[in-house]
């Protein structure tokens, strides 16, 4: 049997290549390989920018009634028309992006982080803790997200902060379950044993050694959660249990009166509907591409 020694020049060039893959290169590579994901990212960034810069972008106060401009069709003055209170729909959409992003990212990050820590802890400790914790998750996951969120809102009441809590709680078990599966594999690797042997505490092992190694599935989940949270917020507001008037929120803009004016002033419903569709589509496309990019099994697909 002949053993061929590796070509040092070739190894060097690959190492150099790897070293030269800066975040910019990675981003460009992502864009080249995943054009739909890139489109999704662009949509998300635009929506985020709109939310952050709403005070400068919106031409009108989103909450100011103008009875001289009730239900005006889209025009140069009011790009997306006005609603039944004469409020500029474009301005409300831009400020609604802020609400959507606040609730979407806030709930997703909150639910995701709590789920991450609990899921890893459940896998790490195992035994009775794992058994009981997983049954609790089973119970929580038996309820569809929106139903559980409705139950939480009925307890805490409406408003942006309470809606965030209501959506965060159902996301915790969804994250915890997936992360636990990944953490179970990590628990068995030697460096965790080594950390235990060195006498590190549970918190340090979980947070410093296990959590970083389940970040990949966590990030993928997180991207999906943002979309789910935005949809849930819109759903709750549509049902009258989310954010309340006159706060600008997309689901709220679709609620009640938009139905009444579906035929006479359809722009009241169309634009917030489109905003929800494009945002969730953008997040889904980006999340899908991110999964492909991060997951080693799917990386070359």
């Amino acid at each position: 049997m002949t053993v061929v020694a590796p070509n040092p020049a070739k190894v060097l060039s690959e190492e150099t290549l790897v070293r030269e893959r800066t975040p910019l290169h990675l981003a460009l590579d992502f864009c080249r390989r995943k054009p739909l994901g890139t489109l999704g990212l662009v949509i998300v960034l635009v929506i985020m920018a709109a939310g952050i810069c709403a005070d400068w972008i919106a031409p009108f106060d989103p909450e100011e009634n103008d009875f001289n401009a009730m239900m005006q069709a889209p025009s140069l003055v009011h790009l997306f028309g006005t609603d039944q209170f004469g409020r500029d729909i474009f301005s409300r959409l831009v400020f609604g992006a802020r609400t959507a992003m606040l609730v979407g990212f806030g709930s997703a990050v909150g639910g995701g982080l709590i789920g991450l820590v609990l899921g890893v802890a459940s896998a790490y400790f195992g035994g009775w803790f794992d058994l009981v914790f997983q049954r609790v998750l089973d119970v929580l996951m038996a309820f569809p997200l929106i139903i559980l969120a409705l139950a939480v809102v009925s307890v805490f009441g409406t408003g942006v902060f309470n809606v965030m809590i209501a959506i965060t709680i159902p996301l915790i078990p969804r994250c915890g379950r997936v992360v636990r599966a990944s953490a179970l594999a990590v628990r068995e690797v030697p460096y965790v044993d080594a950390a235990r042997a060195l006498g590190f505490g549970h918190a340090r092992i979980i947070l410093r050694h296990m959590v970083p190694n389940v970040v990949a599935p966590f990030l993928i989940l997180l991207s999906a959660f943002v979309g789910q949270a935005i949809l849930a917020e819109a759903g709750l507001s549509y049902l009258g249990l989310g954010v309340q008037e006159p706060v600008a929120a997309w689901g709220l803009m679709l609620q009640g009166s938009a139905e009444d004016y579906a035929t006479t002033a359809p722009w009241i419903a169309i634009f917030p509907g489109l905003a929800i569709v494009f945002t969730v589509l953008g997040i889904s496309l980006f999340g899908d591409a991110l999964r492909d990019a991060i997951d080693p099994k799917l990386r070359d697909r």
């Binding site: 100011e64 408003g159 009444d260």
Partner: protein, 534 residues
């Protein structure tokens, strides 16, 4: 004012005359089932004595009789009352303090038992003097009643403490159903969950949150009525569902009232198949600041809240999107006791110059040290018109720098928050049945006198002014007393802020005949005179 009232009355009379004429031209047809939508998820109970919501009266009124009522063919009348269970309207004796009613003979409850004056007197005693543990929502309406008795099986006598022209309208309240004495005395709560009366329809079934069904009572005492074979009330709290039901002819009528947008849409789509009846509504939203919560204990702050709202511009604009329309004070604008526009404009919240009004509001807030005040407006989870009016008010307050968050809750928590006083400012409503300003304005009294006032204030001056008005029988002096009470309530103390009165728009399929609109969604709901032209 009198010119305006005269015109209003003339217009109303003309409309009624035209309606009556056109109805009179057709002979009612017997048969058919009326399906109607009830804009609620479910009534809190079926006990009319206890409840104040249309959800109860729309669901259960067809199964009960009352002593007297507004004329079913002219329910808009504010002065005319006719017998239901009595045989003729009595002439008061004893200086206007005694009313003796003769009760119809041969009237049967739906269980076949005979209805007598004992049942009528017992029901009224439970309404006026509820025993401990029994809830009666209208006790304050009948504070003038001293005693109700039935000396024999066909006579009921009401003895009053004093003569008052507020008594007969109060007696015609549509919730004062006559229950069977035997059941009432055995279990006064029985009627909360059961229905058994002597009305034009017999109760058949109730599916919680879905429907309530009844069939014709063949023993009904108004000859020839009811015309329908059966009725089905469908509970649908969502407006779009009700509009769709009317559009698709799955329901023939909705009795509470729909907004202008629904009217325009259905009339455009269905043309002559949809008929519209509309009327001013003895119902309006009120903003009630919680006097026990700072800074609303300060009259300057309450006054600023009132001064910020542009009623004169807001009312016509809101009328395009919500079922509200007329600016008014504490009295229904169509009544002779109501304030004129000029009188209203003297009070906080009605000033003709809104910029001056808002400047004064800002000054008062600054003086009270609460510029940029942030608070919560408690509102009911009902679109029309609560959420529209709430959103409008918040927009108006924003113009003087107030930062208000709206907290919308279902009807149950809305009531419990108001009763517990756990709110900053609440958007509530004052809805009455028969237009009876002397009693309707009781809502503005402190809770120690009128338990359904949620402002958490005490005000002896207010009670004094109200009582003076009650005992005055000269119409002009009574009107002056009403102005004094109104000015004290809305301007001096700003206990409440009255927002534009509602406007009632009823849509019905064109084959529905016989039913006439009134200024109240509680009135004329026994459905005995409805027939279907199919």
């Amino acid at each position: 004012m009198y010119v305006r009232t005269g015109l209003w009355a003339a217009g109303l009379g003309l409309a009624v005359a035209i309606a009556a004429g056109s109805a009179g031209a057709q002979t009612p047809k017997r048969g058919g089932t009326l399906t109607y939508v009830i804009p609620a998820d479910a009534p809190p109970s079926f006990d009319g004595h206890r409840e104040t919501t249309y959800a109860t009266v729309h669901a259960a009124a067809p199964y009960y009789s009352v002593l007297i009522r507004v004329p079913p063919d002219n329910p808009a009348s504010t002065t005319e009352f006719v017998c239901d269970l009595c045989t003729e309207m009595p002439t008061p004796t004893d200086g206007g303090k005694t009313y003796t009613f003769k009760i119809r003979e041969g009237v049967k409850f739906h269980d076949g038992s005979k209805l007598t004056a004992q049942d009528v007197a017992t029901s009224w005693n439970y309404i006026v003097f509820p025993p401990k543990g029994v809830s009666s929502a209208r006790v304050s309406y009948y504070e003038m009643v001293d005693k109700v008795e039935a000396p024999d099986d066909t006579t009921v006598v009401f003895h009053l403490k004093r003569a008052t022209n507020a008594f007969l309208p109060a007696l015609a309240d549509p919730y004062t159903w006559i229950y069977k004495k035997e059941i009432l005395e055995k279990d006064p709560h029985w009627f909360e969950k059961n229905i058994m009366g002597s009305g034009p329809f017999k109760f058949v079934s109730y599916e919680v949150g879905q429907s309530i069904k009844g069939v014709r009572n063949p023993d009904y005492y108004h000859k020839g009525q009811p015309y329908l074979d059966a009725i089905v009330g469908i509970f649908a709290d969502k407006q779009s569902v009700r509009v769709d039901a009317l559009r698709a002819d799955r329901a023939a009528i909705e009795f509470r009232g729909l907004p202008p947008s629904a009217r325009d849409q259905l009339v455009k789509e269905a043309g002559a198949d949809i008929v519209v009846q509309d009327s001013d509504w003895n119902c309006g939203n009120i903003l009630t600041p919680n006097h026990k919560k700072k800074p609303f204990d300060d009259v300057r702050v309450r006054r600023a809240l009132a001064l910020a709202i542009d009623q004169w511009k807001g009312a016509p604009a809101l009328a395009k999107i919500a079922n509200v329309r007329t600016v008014g004070g504490i009295v229904f604008p169509g009544s002779p006791l109501a304030a004129t526009k000029e009188e209203l404009q003297q009070m906080a919240g009605y000033w003709p110059d809104i910029e001056k009004s808002r400047a004064e509001a800002r000054r008062l807030l600054k003086e009270a040290g609460v510029e940029g005040l942030k608070f919560e407006l408690l509102n009911r989870n009902v679109d029309q018109p609560y959420k529209f009016v709430g959103t409008w008010a918040i927009g108006e307050w924003k113009k003087i720098g107030l930062n208000v968050e709206q907290k919308v809750v279902p009807t149950g928590p809305w009531f419990s928050n108001m009763r517990a006083g756990t709110f900053d400012v609440v958007l509530e409503a004052n809805c009455a049945s028969v237009v009876n300003p002397l009693l309707d304005t009781g809502k503005y009294l402190p809770a120690k006198v009128y338990p359904e006032n949620y402002g958490q204030f005490d005000d002896d001056k207010s009670v004094e002014l109200y009582e003076k008005m009650q005992t005055e029988i000269d119409p002009k002096k009574q009107r002056d007393d009403m102005r004094a009470f109104e000015k004290h309530t809305l301007d001096t103390m700003v206990h409440e802020i009255v927002l534009p009165y509602w406007y009632r728009i009823i849509l019905e399929r064109s084959y529905v005949k016989g039913w006439k609109i009134s200024p109240s969604h509680y009135l004329n709901q026994d459905l005995a005179n409805i027939w279907l032209d199919k």
